[in-house]
Symmetry: C2
Subunit: 121 residues, 2 copies
């Protein structure tokens, strides 16, 4: 098995890079069985997840990862991230946390579970 | 399949109740394959996880759940929690987030993945 911490780092760099710059590029990470909980809204399937990500009501953001943890699962990797999002029109960054269950398939990974929450304070 | 949100609520009530009052009672939730990442320390197996939980350097805490999300996985449930811990000797509560992958077995659930992080601010 590939070093899961290296896979987690590579995934997080890709994911938050695309989340910051062009969220439509996140879509290939998802499949029909994929689930996204983004704040309190729930989305199942690549089409609904694409619609949610591309419809988020903010443009470019700067995402900073504070912590990145990973553990193996029977089908892939569990990844857990805390960090900050800096929106263009806001002074204070928003703290967030997010977990993913990635599934390993043919030497690559796709996202089965994706749960995102802001940490209001 | 049982309503996963009901299972998640029941699990979280049990887990944070025991986490607050008597962390030794968390041990039956774990198995030899279980993994715990608590802040930056990693623990595998029920004995090591028990040692970590019972050795945490604080007594009773009050845990408050802010958000609780759940999604199904091929083997059980993915649970994601944000909340606050109020320690006896601290004025400000500590914000935390935590994810679990629970495995369904014989009508019950055990914890395969457990990742806990404080959100410093």
């Amino acid at each position: 098995m590939a070093d899961i911490n290296a896979v987690a780092r590579q995934f997080a760099e890709y994911y938050y890079g695309k989340f910051s710059a062009n969220r439509a590029d996140l879509v290939p990470l998802y499949r029909e069985q994929s689930m996204l909980t983004f704040e309190s809204s729930q989305h199942i399937g690549v089409g609904n997840i694409a619609e949610k990500y591309t419809g988020l009501p903010f443009g470019q953001v700067a995402a900073r990862i504070s912590t990145l943890d990973a553990q193996p699962t029977p089908t892939g990797i569990c990844i857990f991230v805390t960090g900050e999002l800096q929106l263009e029109d806001q002074e204070q960054p928003l703290r967030f946390c997010q977990c993913f269950n990635l599934v390993s398939e043919s030497g690559s990974y796709w996202v089965l579970n994706d749960i995102f929450r802001l940490n209001y304070g």
